[in-house]
Assembly symmetry: C2
Homo-oligomer: 275 residues x 2
């Protein structure tokens, strides 16, 4: 009976409703994408044109000053761009650890990417094995964090002589507060240490914790890793891991909520079937 519950034949009414729902989600997401495209086009396009003009003028000036042909200049551009990543040692142990973290958490800044074929092949294998592992770890730690918060909330409630029962809503609120706290702490620390503007720093933290990870702002990139204090390196990697754990605990709670709803639904259906 269970499989038919999950995958109803193509003609039942519940299946039609599900199809319509899915279609609505698809259309909704596409409309949202189109809205996004329109907004970003408006916001960034004009600025892009201004910067292009500025770029072209600067280049012509430089070519005249240094008596450089267009071909020379293009060669120079390609040297500078191709080799820019080598200005800083990316692959010492700390750098490689940072790289592995960025792969397993799915953030993928792209501040360091493998240049050798073997590096690429190993990255593929490393990711395929490691990603399920790290997802399980984050879910498991997130679940433990939920336990800990529930325990603390219970103690707190007992002290104030209220009911001992902790609702899911209270738990979610706590996690939301923790997320905001992590975000603001992170943003402030990177604002101080990386000399980014506060908006850029907040933008970096949000893009990291959502695991989008554009890589336009990446901490620890202004000098070699061994020139940074260890505390700051720990803070950077710790920020990523802590932030993602808190988000995992929220998602763990939401999945469990779904499980509960599903269980209740099945129970109700079984009760109805028995009557």
């Amino acid at each position: 009976m269970r499989p038919s519950l999950r995958f109803p034949p193509q003609t039942t009414p519940s299946c039609k409703i599900q199809n319509c729902k899915t279609l609505a989600y698809i259309i909704g997401t596409f409309i949202y994408l189109i809205i996004g495209a329109t907004i970003f086009d408006k916001l960034e396009s004009s600025h892009e044109d201004v910067r292009r003009d500025h770029y072209d003028k600067n280049i012509s000036l430089f070519q005249r000053q240094h008596n450089m042909s267009r071909g020379d200049f293009d060669r120079l551009t390609s040297i500078i761009l191709k080799n820019h990543q080598y200005k800083k040692k990316q692959w010492q142990f700390i750098g490689s650890f940072y790289y592995s973290t960025v792969v397993l958490t799915l953030i993928g800044y792209g501040h360091a990417t493998p240049t050798t074929s073997s590096g690429k092949a190993v990255t593929i294998a490393y990711a395929l094995i490691g990603i399920p592992m790290s997802l399980i770890m984050f879910q498991s730690v997130g679940e433990r964090l939920n336990s800990l918060i529930t325990y603390c909330l219970k103690r707190l409630k007992r002290r104030f002589k209220k009911s001992e029962y902790v609702t899911d809503m209270e738990l979610l609120t706590c996690e939301a507060l923790l997320s905001v706290l992590t975000l603001l702490t992170g943003a402030y620390m990177f604002y101080l240490n990386e000399k980014w503007s506060y908006l850029s720093s907040l933008y970096y933290c949000l893009l990291t914790l959502t695991t989008i990870g554009f890589g336009d702002f990446v901490p620890l990139q202004q000098k070699n890793y061994n020139e940074y204090p260890y505390v700051y390196i720990f803070f950077t990697i710790g920020f990523i891991l802590t932030g993602l754990t808190i988000l995992a605990s929220s998602s763990n709670l939401l999945v469990l909520k779904m499980v509960e709803t599903d269980t209740n639904r099945i129970k109700t259906e079984q009760t109805i079937a028995h009557e």
Copy 2:
């Protein structure tokens, strides 16, 4: 009773087992990160040194040829790097749509990033609202895809006069095959159209479908969007959306499997409690 099932008090044996499990996951993941760091350090470090030397030599040669001081050269480098993104129009409608897709799917190549403050602020808001929406869409479409595959498998089995029942294992196998097919089709198409090596193309596809998205290989970046055939633009965005849908359908199946296990566990526990 349910909340204590989910968040057992800190002293029960089941809680200790859970803590130990979580600790084991954490240690396992950290060991895996250290192994990764060691391997990538070995693979990439020596190559990095060779490239650095090559870079330094090229630069000196250029400086001598064009009678350029170190200061001049650094200024030129910064102009070229800062403005490299303006060599191609990123923010027309198609580019902005591509950008929105890359944000909502959490891939975040970083091939185009907002340069204005308003662009950054809107990206933050856009992501926070849109990501839950697109996750729900992918899960919903994935669930429908599961239904469709089950339906097709049933028909196929009926034709060959076998049992009509479709197991989860058969469904997962089908999805694994579909994933591999999408991956290889994608890799081959990008190999042809972007002139990447086959390994690079496969590496790109894997990094995209895992949503890591380093951004070292990004399709549609060699000329302006309006110079590409529409079919290829559709294919690129379609590849991302299709691939992620197939992965979502596998994850939907695994979550449902977990729900089922959980339901059975609770049922068993209730039966024992009633006896």
